[in-house]
Symmetry: C2
Subunit: 341 residues, 2 copies
């Protein structure tokens, strides 16, 4: 099994020592060429780089990180559903900001609290400098130790639970309020709210905003026109049909997220094109087809979170913040239809 001492089948990757040998200098000098290029004479530098080039040498950052501060120049992004456009856009924002600071983003996904903990631990083991995560579990106190060890941690889209950490979230409550208020102002009194899943932070907030707007004009904030499920697999179409089948169906519907919006557009087109609709999150062709939405900028959300993570690296002990990213109501027609029926 031993391949002997010469002529291995596949060449081994050259090391700094190989480059040193070939260029006739010490390993330390080669190291300097990469770490402090100015601290070495131009002649030597050229000689070393030529040798490195001939050998296809690539400095091993694992080894150098190990010796330096023990951390990689990477940050971790943890999310449940990379399926969803929203989180993918957030990832885009993170990547952009981080790459501008010479950091690379590593992406890890998990769908449940145990998975969340597992992938975060894995990232810590990989010695990322910071972790940006969309909290899923009900308890993130397990990160407290990491935080004290100087890991920069930012919760994204939802606040972390049982953990003092920075978080960056949308102004969900205001979004729910703006959507509903606009419908109220256009004369609607029976206003539905549809989403799946419900019972998560963002939806609780948006619903609170929905209640705010209804309460403001003395409309009941009961749950007659609320349809949702904790189970993501329940088709949202069904929930909407359900609303439309009520004896006294809503004349307008607020959708809790992008999936709900798509589903609502689909069902209403087919059954009740006269029902008003306000979506949450923007969609590709929504402007083209007059779909009013609560709009925000997920890429910017990611970017802001990244900036916060970077700030935290410089100032590990500063006060934590909850940053709220604004949302806006975009009137395109579907939300400005008068009540019918």
């Amino acid at each position: 099994m031993s391949s002997g001492q010469h002529a291995p089948i596949v060449h081994a990757r050259p090391t700094l020592a190989d480059v040193a040998r070939l260029s006739g200098v010490s390993p330390k000098t080669v190291s300097r060429v990469y770490a402090h290029p100015d601290a070495v004479s131009p002649d030597t530098r050229e000689k070393v780089l030529a040798a490195a080039d001939r050998l296809h040498f690539r400095p091993n950052v694992l080894a150098s990180s190990l010796r330096r501060d023990g951390l990689m120049r990477t940050v971790g992004f943890v999310t449940a559903e990379l399926t969803n456009q929203f989180y993918v856009q957030v990832a885009t924002g993170i990547e952009r900001e981080m790459s501008a600071h010479d950091l690379t983003m590593v992406v890890a996904t998990s769908d449940d609290p145990e998975g969340e903990r597992r992938v975060i631990d894995a990232l810590v083991s990989q010695r990322v400098r910071s972790i940006l995560f969309v909290p899923v579990g009900a308890d993130h106190s397990f990160l407290e130790g990491e935080r004290r060890l100087g890991l920069s941690i930012v919760a994204l889209d939802r606040p972390a639970r049982n953990l003092v950490a920075d978080s960056v979230v949308l102004d969900n409550r205001r979004g729910g309020y703006l959507a509903t208020r606009s419908l109220v102002e256009h004369g609607h009194r029976r206003i539905g709210y549809v989403c799946n899943p419900l019972g998560v932070y963002t939806q609780d907030e948006r619903l609170a905003g929905y209640d705010d707007a209804l309460g403001e004009v003395g409309l009941p904030t009961g749950r007659t026109y609320l349809r949702g499920s904790d189970d993501v697999s329940v088709p949202i179409e069904r929930l909407i049909e359900d609303l439309l089948d009520l004896p006294d169906p809503p004349t307008a519907i607020v959708c809790g997220n992008n999936r709900a919006t798509t589903a609502a557009v689909r069902v209403l087109r087919r059954r009740r094109a006269d029902v008003a609709l306000v979506g949450y999150d923007d969609l590709d062709l929504a402007d083209m087809f007059g779909i009013s939405v609560i709009r925000h900028d997920p890429v910017e959300l990611g970017r802001i979170a990244a900036r916060r993570a970077l700030h935290r690296l410089d100032d590990p002990t500063g006060a934590t913040e909850m940053i709220v990213v604004p949302v806006e109501y975009v009137a395109r027609g579907s939300g400005e239809r008068p009540p019918v029926g």
Copy 2:
């Protein structure tokens, strides 16, 4: 400046040696608890894990990778534009497949050939096991050395240039052909093709397919109805307006990518809703609004590329392949309108 030998302000991260000390075993045994849990007695294991837990110990994979095969359990994905939904979906597919194999994806972006080379070098320095990249530069021979060193390399969406490597691409030519042929079959004779940027591999192929379909029925394959630019900043709307302003404007338009499709929908809605349209890449609400497109599955594309990269890890010397992912024509109305004007 020296912090002395005791009581550092911020605790240092515990090492395997610390855990060994606390649990009263040798470092090697602690190591085994993580690497080969079965090779250690349950008692010892419990004892060690308890100590590790108390100290918030996280094994350092940098150190272990260094000692093992020198590579991280990571793969790199390199793309120019994480802005574009298409590449983001590809990333999703890669991440899914890789995480199923206990690998994490690190994302690196660059917009020009030099940047491409730079970020790929950086990934190699990070010792990723494989690199999946959307080729940008005109010469990727600089990767030849890496390939020989056993790095698994897969080109995505376009083939690599001057490099023997696996690649995974869409069936672009067939897509262009299907879009155009359908329009021809519906009676169109003046068929435009719009895209920006042109002059990239995918567009060359799609255009070849466009020519195929036109040639098949003896229509001229001149560039009268071709509008595009190498400059991404030229607004596609302008290109479409340009076509419509011709004395003898096209009665149908094929769009070369998702951005062109969006732009075309926008312009046609406003000016010439009777002009037929076939898009490339699917869009959020396209089904809802009857937009015919050439559809494919970018997530699947990413997944296939990931699988190929994994295969290549096991078989570094096997023959390279160019895998072509199918596309399909989806008739929804906009592409089946008869010629008008």
